[in-house]
């Protein structure tokens, strides 16, 4: 069956209309398909004539796909104080003289922009094609700039390609219901109908691209030509206009680059491959590019993304999209949600970056500087002038992912003198150590089964009891007291060795922690580093880590302020000397003979009372010197394989130690840390 034409033909005339939702890719694609299928004599768009006179067509063709704003200043508005965070070089209030003006966003996902570009893009398809371009809208200055509206009631605009334009707009109208129209819009409908009439009467084939809200009114006026007003009017002077390139992210934020800018970019790429590439472009299939890019990037970053998790994510995403009656996932509620819940937050960051990737930009120096004000208003600074961009209430609500920031009290306390921990890290370490202790105790004291003798102990041993009944003995068996349960306080030192072969480049000793045990000496060994950002920035990796676990939790002691710190010290001094550990092992002659990460084990042996639990990769051979040292001091070394612990937790355990302060306190040029350090909160 031949697919339905991408246009609506007005009666039996040469007028072919593509009613559109502005800045939505599906309609830009419809325009492209229309021009591919038919070599129109005339292209008419819903723009005022004065914009053509200032060279908008040429400007659009030259600058696309870079997102730009055409700003026509119309007077001084007011003086606005810049937000404190945007004041360069100081905190003194800065007032800017702000201008207002007519703002026309020009992005490659807009159908009108595509209509102006098509003659240039389709030269291979229609050699020498140079249709007349008509700007048919009335001159107007007062229309507020709008965010692109998503279709009402969740109607996916991809439906226009599935159902065809007539069926799509019927559903759209039914769901949207009647909405009041401004007098200005009625006037514009009349003017556009008046200007389209002679084009229709000329018998030329015309492609008309306009906003969907205008077409019913224009159609009504075209059917009753007697009501048409005179088409001539006074043009405003637009010589003072500016073409302002903006960051594609800002264009997306304002709703002018579809939901997923990467798909807009893929459409651009498809058009660049040739006319057939653009015609065959399918937004749904283009989603695969986001997945391919994300998986490749995840591999480069060393994120462990399993095939099973990806499969789960794909199945969940498919169901979410289907349940919401859409074809293309929404960024936050579908795409990122599915990735976060099925794969993980780190991969979600990668997917988000891929989905928002839109490399066409003018360059930071050529772009406008944008200051966000409150209540959705923005100041746009460009060429020494400042314009105010405001959005009317309503429209599409953009829900962006935001990380929950640490409480303000946490963020404030950043003296840098004391290393700060956060509760999640302490809990994670405690739980990892409790797990290690359980495994160790099970190894030391494996659970045993014995005949029931009056007490159930750890409960019946059903398997052995059933065997006993089956063999006719009819004896009940119970399990003997097994390893201690729970993650309570345990005095055994722990040594975590993550990579025993790496070159040690730095060592550090952290003497203080906060709750639950404020006075624990913790030894960190830092391994060889990865160099990032062209060798200028070093990313350290934790190689080994010793937790001495020497001091029992002294209740509510904390280290906030000198008084409480003094109380903590008094508490520590009451303990036997051997239990206080503020060692710097690499300076202690007793440890001089131990190399690399073995120094961590030796230090733990020195201060342990009976046992040291060492968690290390199963391939790491035990060092004979360390074993001999432990034997000499009468300390039992219990070795556990690192592989017995989930990879993700081990990874998190390692990463946590390099985010000692709230992530948001990283500032340029260290903002990259956010990418490599997992979030503390949220």
């Amino acid at each position: 069956m031949r697919p339905e034409a991408p246009w609506i033909r007005f009666e039996q005339t040469g007028l072919h209309v593509v009613p559109s939702i502005h800045h939505r890719l599906a309609f830009a694609h419809s325009v492209y398909r229309s021009c591919y299928e038919k070599r129109f004599d005339v292209i008419a768009v819903e723009l005022p004539r004065s914009l053509r006179d200032v060279g908008l067509v040429e400007s659009v063709r030259r600058r696309a796909p870079v997102p730009v704003l055409l700003i026509q200043p119309s007077g001084i508005l007011d003086s606005v104080e810049l937000p404190a965070r945007d004041r360069p070089g100081g905190r003194e209030p800065q007032n800017r003289r702000v201008e207002r003006g007519f703002v026309l966003p020009i992005t490659s996902s807009d159908s009108m922009v595509m209509a102006l570009r098509c003659p240039a893009l389709l030269q291979e398809r229609w050699p020498g094609w140079d249709p007349e371009i008509h700007f048919v809208d009335a001159e107007h200055e007062s229309e507020p700039v709008r965010r692109a509206l998503a279709s009402p009631s969740g109607l996916d605009d991809y439906e226009v390609q599935v159902r065809g334009p007539r069926a799509f707009w019927r559903i759209w109208e039914a769901r949207r219901g009647a909405s009041p129209r401004a007098e200005l819009d009625e006037q514009r409908d009349r003017v556009m109908a008046a200007r389209l009439r002679p084009l229709i009467d000329s018998g030329a084939s015309v492609l008309f691209v306009c906003g969907a809200a205008h077409w019913p009114g224009i159609e009504r006026h075209l059917r009753s030509p007697g009501a048409l007003p005179p088409a001539e009017e006074q043009k405003p002077d637009r010589r003072d206009h500016l073409i302002v390139p903006v960051d594609p992210f800002a264009a997306w934020l304002w709703g002018w680059l579809d939901d997923l800018p990467r798909l807009v970019w893929e459409f651009e790429e498809a058009c660049r491959r040739g006319p057939d590439g653009g015609r065959r472009f399918d937004k749904r299939r283009a989603l695969d590019v986001i997945w391919e890019g994300s998986i490749g990037e995840a591999r480069r970053q060393g994120l462990g993304v399993s095939v099973r998790a990806l499969g789960k994510m794909a199945r969940y995403l498919e169901r979410l999209v289907a349940a919401s009656g859409r074809w293309i996932p929404e960024l936050d509620s579908h795409l990122i949600h599915a990735v976060e819940t099925c794969v993980g937050e780190a991969f979600a960051d990668v997917v988000e970056a891929q989905a928002l990737h839109f490399p066409a930009r003018a360059g930071r120096k050529q772009e406008a500087t944008i200051h966000g004000l409150r209540q959705g208003a923005y100041l746009i600074e460009f060429a020494g002038r400042t314009f105010l961009l405001t959005f009317p209430k309503g429209g599409r609500k953009l829900v962006l992912r935001t990380r929950v920031r640490p409480p303000e009290s946490e963020a404030r306390e950043d003296s840098g003198r004391w290393m700060r921990d956060w509760p999640e890290e302490v809990e994670l370490r405690r739980s990892m150590e409790a797990r290690a202790q359980r495994l160790a105790l099970r190894r030391i004291r494996p659970p045993r089964s014995r005949r029931f003798a009056g007490t159930l102990a750890e409960g019946p041993d059903w398997r052995r009891t059933v065997r006993s009944f089956a063999s006719g003995q009819r004896q009940l068996y119970v399990r003997e007291a097994g390893p201690a349960r729970g993650a309570g306080w345990h005095p055994d030192p722990f040594v975590w060795i993550f990579d025993s072969r790496c070159r040690i480049v730095e060592r550090d000793c952290v003497n203080w922690e906060r709750a639950p045990s404020p006075c624990i000496a913790t030894l960190l060994y830092i391994a060889s580093s990865r160099f990032l950002a062209r060798g200028r920035i070093r990313a350290d990796r934790l190689a080994a880590f010793t937790d001495f676990n020497l001091v029992p939790p002294p209740g509510d002691l904390c280290l906030e302020g000198p008084a409480s710190r003094a109380r903590a010290l008094r508490s520590v001094r009451k303990l036997p000397h051997a239990r206080i550990c503020r060692v710097v092992p690499w300076k202690d002659p007793e440890f001089a003979s131990f190399a690399g990460t073995h120094q961590a084990i030796a230090a733990a042996i020195r201060y342990a009372s009976r046992r040291v639990i060492v968690v290390a990769p199963s391939t790491a051979a035990p060092d004979a010197d360390v074993m001999a040292y432990a034997k000499r001091r009468g300390i039992e070394l219990c070795r556990l394989a690192l592989e017995e612990f989930p990879v993700s937790l081990v990874q998190r355990f390692r990463d946590h130690h390099f985010a000692p302060s709230p992530i948001d306190s990283y500032h340029a040029p260290y903002a990259w840390c956010r990418k490599y350090v997992p979030p503390i909160y949220g």
Binding site: A309, R315, A322, A323, H337, C342, R435, W462, R463, L649
Partner: protein
């Protein structure tokens, strides 16, 4: 092995258990008592529309692919169980079997456990999971984070595409009904402190996180659960919730409900006329006694 067709209702002495006959690996019949579904509390469910939609979406069977198994994670008292009851009653309209997790759960507890019958013979009692798989209902594994990792190993085959449960003890394997759905819940603290074993972690996805609802929603939940509460008392609860939120202390609906119920009882004991000031003081006292709240600075 396949499930045998013999199903019989067992008498009153078995308290609503249903007897199913399976065939073990050698073709011999194995009789297992299956528990009845858990009764669902009748109460209205407020808010969480998006979570309900997402759960329902995950449980869709599409194109022959089996539904996904969910994990709900959140602080205690925010409505994880209520969400599951609502899904069972109103959305999926299926029977619900609840498997309560605890740290003494053993692997065989997930399939079936033996017991010595009155006649001295061993009989098998199926788990809620087994019953839900056979009857095509929802199995809700509550507090899965409290179960030792090795006890969960039987879930691996249930939660992947095999959808089978094997009882080594009784020697049979059951394939889940196409209508079988699975959801697990765990507290946030269990998730942070190690979570599930890795092989299970990926099988139990998506992970839907439920946080504390906004104050207005908490109040609506409380209002709906205690419909006869004095309006002035409800207003005092609202003020208390707002003051706690201002101090960045999140109060769960369960805590708010406990607070109001307790305050209502204190009111009955006190037999005094309720003024707004007294109501606030009452809530404050009830908070200190029931949910461990500190003095409300707003009311002081």
């Amino acid at each position: 092995m396949s499930l045998a067709t013999i199903t019989a209702r067992v008498g009153a002495e078995s308290r609503g258990f249903t007897r199913h006959i399976f065939q073990d690996g050698a073709g011999s019949p194995v009789s297992v008592l299956l528990p009845a579904p858990d009764p669902l509390p009748i109460r209205s469910f407020i808010g969480r529309e998006q979570a309900v939609e997402r759960c329902a979406a995950a449980w869709l069977s599409m194109g022959g692919a089996s539904p996904l198994h969910l994990r709900l994670v959140g602080p205690p008292g925010v409505g994880k169980n209520a969400l599951v009851y609502h899904l069972a009653q109103k959305v999926e309209q299926k029977q619900l079997w609840i498997l309560q997790g605890h740290d003494d759960l053993a692997p065989e507890d997930l399939a079936c456990t033996p017991r010595i019958a009155d006649n001295g013979r061993i009989e098998y009692v199926g788990s809620p999971l087994l019953a839900a798989m056979i009857q095509g209902g929802i199995c809700f594994f509550d507090e899965i984070g409290k179960v030792p990792g090795r006890a969960l190993s039987l879930l691996a085959s249930v939660l992947d595409d095999r959808r089978t449960l094997t009882s080594v003890l009784a020697g049979f394997t059951v394939t889940a009904s196409p209508d079988f759905r699975f959801v697990a819940a765990m507290n946030e603290s269990d998730d942070v402190a190690g979570g599930l074993p890795e092989y299970l972690d990926e099988r139990l996805r998506p992970v839907l996180r439920l946080d504390h609802p906004p104050v207005t929603e908490t109040l609506a939940i409380v209002r709906s659960a205690v419909p006869h509460a004095e309006e002035v008392l409800l207003e005092a609860v609202r003020k208390w919730l707002v003051s706690r939120e201002a101090e960045s202390v999140r109060v769960s609906p369960r805590q708010a409900l406990t607070l109001l119920s307790f305050a209502s009882r204190l009111l009955l004991v006190g037999r005094v006329e309720l003024t707004p000031e007294r109501a606030e003081d009452l809530i404050q006292r009830a908070a200190e006694m029931s949910v461990g709240g500190e003095r409300n600075p707003g009311a002081a």
